[in-house]
């Protein structure tokens, strides 16, 4: 079974690791960027680091994502590839 990262999971991680409160609905908004939400590169790196540790694989492509849609796609692709 493939685990999938949802926008709800991402919202939780952003709160925990980057200290940014954002609703899953806003993350789903087309074209929404991390910059819009006030998530800087270190904050995103903290989220990626947590996901990498959790799933035991590298997710470097997610680190450079500008939008939340891109990010979710990159993470879920690497989760699928690794399953």
């Amino acid at each position: 079974m493939t685990v999938e990262l949802t926008s709800t999971d991402l919202a939780t991680l952003l709160k925990q690791k980057a200290g940014v409160t954002v609703s899953p609905l806003d993350l789903d908004r087309p074209g929404a960027t991390f910059e819009d939400f006030g998530v800087d590169s270190l904050g995103l790196l903290a989220v990626v680091g947590e996901l990498e540790n959790r799933h035991g694989r590298s997710m470097t492509s997610a680190e450079t994502s500008k939008s939340s849609a891109e990010f979710l796609q990159a993470v879920n692709l690497s989760l699928k590839e690794g399953s």
Binding site: K17, G19, T21, L42, G43, A46, N53
Partner: protein, 414 residues
Amino acid sequence: MNGSAARRRAAITGIGVVAPNGVGTDDFWKATCQGTSVLAPIDREGCEQFPLRIAGLVNGFDPAQFVEDRVLVATDRFTHFALAAAGMALDDSGLPIDAEGDPFGIGVVTAAGSGGGEFGQRELQQLWSRGPHHVGPYQSIAWFYAASTGQISIRGGFKGPCAVVASDEPGGLDALAHAARDVVRGTSAVVVGAAEAPIAPYSMVCQLGYPELSTVAEAEQAYMPFAEQADGFVPAEGGAFFVLEDEATARARGARIRAVVAGHAATFTGASRWAESREGLAHAIRSALAEADCPPEDVDVVFADALAVPEADRAEALALADVLGEHAARVAVTAPKAGTGRAYCGASALDTAAAALALEQGLIPPTPNADGCAYDLDLVTGFARTTAPRAALVLSRGLMGSNSALVLRIGSES
């Protein structure tokens, strides 16, 4: 040379405090004047097993009340203190910070001694217990002694001259002098101060080697500067921040001038060489008074370094006598830090806050836990002294050998 630039003088227009005896300037000042000691056993997790038992702890400080979540996850406690105190100082100053203003007109100067020890320890424990992938990215910025300058500057959008002074415990005074020079050179305002948070396991271990540290287990006797039984100092956390502006410009905008930074000098005489600190401190006092154009007999109150190591206390008393002459035995000398502990760079910043408030309020706070003085000094003990000081001398020495003196003048005199 521009004549108006030559007349610029740095004035304190805002004060913010996070101290063991009060969060907020009013609470701090009230407790300081009451002279109550808040030194207490260290009850923090992981800190119980050290020979260092007593400290000045900032309790009842809720970081979330002063710092945004996004910054909280990225910063250590010493930066939380700095952001809180800097925010209070800015509010107190009433300095207009608007989008149309010149962002390069406001600078930030902080001093730090130990940096983010608590944050760093947490991440390093992750490193050796779980591996490098478990170290968070904020470790790269949070432990660093420059973190507070950066975070204050980012929060306020302050792009003026920014600096971090690493000069031992007198850093609080040296940062103020650095900021005052920025103001004299033309910077509109500088947010300046120092705060430290060294009461966490790793940070405490770093201090255990200091021979000057008190290991007395009873809070009332642990830090007794200038007493016969003086047996070392007690560490603390906390600090103070200020807004410095050009005096005339600040007056023109209707700001309250809380004190004027009139003179400063610093010297270095070597780590733990307390007998030699006499000469270094005397030179700093003499030079600071000269810069302030303040004759020795015009000094109305001395906020002493007050290390509570007999050799160091004697050197400080002698340094005062060397420069002030007979006035050294008459001038009011106080050490409020005897009741709060020494927050390293934060201690000299807190003494500066107390000195500015003493000038403003006409009240000299006492030295807590003191009932006498083993040296030829008029140590203020018991109760605050009502008087009308016009010039204050703040002294600080560091364990690594720095000595500094700062002269503040009353703000209401022009």
